[in-house]
């Protein structure tokens, strides 16, 4: 009986994976080929050249956001928070603005997109990890405090950023704005290669910690009991989360609710505790949401409604649903 059940569960998981992968492929193909003038090769090539970078950016962002949210939720032991709620995006925009503010738009640190991305990543990695790690330690992982302080931090960094913008020269501000508000129709295509490399490096760096994450998700006491070097592991994981958020924000801009939706949906449909599987599921779901959403936005709404609107509306409703109906599961 128990073997039967285990087999059934395994079969079910395989089906879920299959459906997810097929949906991803379908939305990718649909996005690339819909209205693409297949009969006119020149035009098709041109359109492909426009859509491919966007597609790759969305895929990168989906993986980064999915991984970051899932890891973060398991670190703080709560499934209704996202790094975005705690202001990680605003720290990123703040740091990006600060770099421009200090070195100016004429500096290679800003002009070279790859270099600029690296500078952002390094500053973000150090500042945000320190801020949040200190926050966790100081509050004893009390989620209510973390939420509260996170919200305050979010507007704190937002205010500093807007003050810097106000005293900036208008031209500088103009140039800054194009990189600051990346969106789906204006992705930051220049950094694709380095973003992929970064994501891979983060992945390799985090693999040993991901195994520990399965245990860390059971709470601090249980993790320590099972021999996890808790503080050390949390710092590394947090560092990974922060970098993922930086990568996602740099490529497609802030998408606040996406992580929340995909992480929770992944938990709901994957029915497993293993974070490698959960992250994989969340990444696929993120791709479906972003690529599919972009297709709908382009071809049905003709760019009048951006994807982020769908994501925010859908995410808002889903968030309410989680708060109201999943109380038991979220304690």
């Amino acid at each position: 009986m128990s073997n039967e059940e285990r087999k059934k569960r395994r079969r079910r998981n395989r089906t879920v994976y299959l459906i997810l992968i097929i949906s991803v492929l379908a939305s990718v193909v649909g996005y690339l080929l819909f209205n693409s003038y297949l009969s006119k090769p020149k035009l098709f090539q041109y359109i492909l050249g426009l859509r491919l970078p966007t597609l790759v950016c969305m895929v990168i962002a989906a993986v980064a956001i999915g991984a970051a949210t899932l890891i973060f939720q398991s670190i703080v032991n709560n499934q209704i928070v996202t790094p975005a709620l705690l202001g990680m995006n605003s720290i990123y925009t703040f740091l990006h603005t600060a770099v421009v503010f200090v070195v100016g738009t004429g500096s290679p640190l800003y002009l070279n997109p790859n270099l600029s991305f690296c500078v952002d990543l390094i500053t973000m990695g150090i500042v945000a990890t320190l801020v949040y790690w200190y926050l966790f330690k100081k509050t004893g992982h009390n989620i209510l405090y973390i939420m509260l302080i996170g919200t305050v931090l979010s507007s704190f960094f937002g205010s500093i950023q807007s003050s810097m913008i106000r005293i900036m020269e208008p031209d500088e501000y103009d140039t800054l704005l194009t990189t600051l508000v990346a969106d789906f129709n204006n992705v930051n295509g220049e950094i694709i290669t380095i973003a992929i490399v970064c994501l891979l490096l983060i992945g390799i760096f985090l693999i040993p910690d991901l195994r520990q994450l399965d245990v860390i998700a059971m709470g601090r006491n249980q993790a320590i009991n099972l021999g996890v070097d808790y503080d050390h592991a949390i710092r590394r994981l947090l560092f990974g989360v922060v970098l993922c958020i930086a990568v996602a924000t740099a490529t497609i801009g802030p998408v606040s609710f996406l992580g929340l939706i995909v992480a929770n949906l992944s938990r709901q449909i994957m029915k497993t505790y293993k974070h490698t599987h959960l992250i994989f599921g969340a990444s696929l779901l993120g791709m479906i949401a972003l690529v599919g959403g972009q297709m709908i936005s382009q071809h049905i709404f003709h760019f009048t409604v951006p994807v982020s609107t769908f994501v925010t509306i859908g995410g808002g409703i889903y968030f309410l649903y989680l708060l109201l109906y999943k109380k038991g599961a979220n304690s």
């Binding site: 128990s2 709470g219 996890v228 070097d229 505790y273």
Partner: protein
Amino acid sequence: MNVQDLIKNYGSKTVVDEVSFQVPKGKVLSLIGPNGAGKSTVMGMISRLVARDAGIIHFEDKDLNKWKSKELAKKLAILTQHNNVQLKLTVRELVSFGRFPYSGSHLTKEDKEIVDKAIAYMELESIEDRFIDELSGGQRQRAYIAMVIAQDTDYILFDEPTNNLDIYHASNLMRMVRRLCDELGKTVILVLHEINYAAFYSDYVCAFADGKIAKFGTVEEVINKECLHDIYKVDFEIINVKGKPLSVYY
């Protein structure tokens, strides 16, 4: 395990004040005392969940802090309250986590046998594929104990294990603690609120009051009228039941 001059302050308040005692090996030791006496904090410190401000905890051949977390997890297990897991985790998967310090998440054949044994020992076979969040409190408690058994440590620490359990499950749990000690040769340390459970199921009792040890000794030495009155400031009647001191208070 040897504890010397343990101190813990919260702000300016000293909650544990120069506590020293020796844990008898292969026995059941209960820590009792009124609220705020420091027993749970002491438990936290000897299980490394709470950082200490001063003092030495000598475990086997070196101080607790000098142990690698992973190695210590093979020697010492702690089961705390508030195990609200939000993961989709089956009983078997939870028990398998007990092998995490040894093999990580890839279990060897030997690990699987140990997990099987732990599940059988706690009589969880019929529910081994159920998800933890679908179990009753008593079943969940048993699943966690099975995990600790699979962890196969010499020392097992329980922090107020009978809280939130009804009389049936609480007394079953205490009998299980006794079996862990008698059959498997574990050293068990418990924090308990119910004096009678401490009296009936442990070998030694350590009573705390105001952050200090009020009395450490065998059950008979600690569970008596004078001693309990000193610790709890309440009058007790002691009745002898099955050779054990049953305390009555009102």
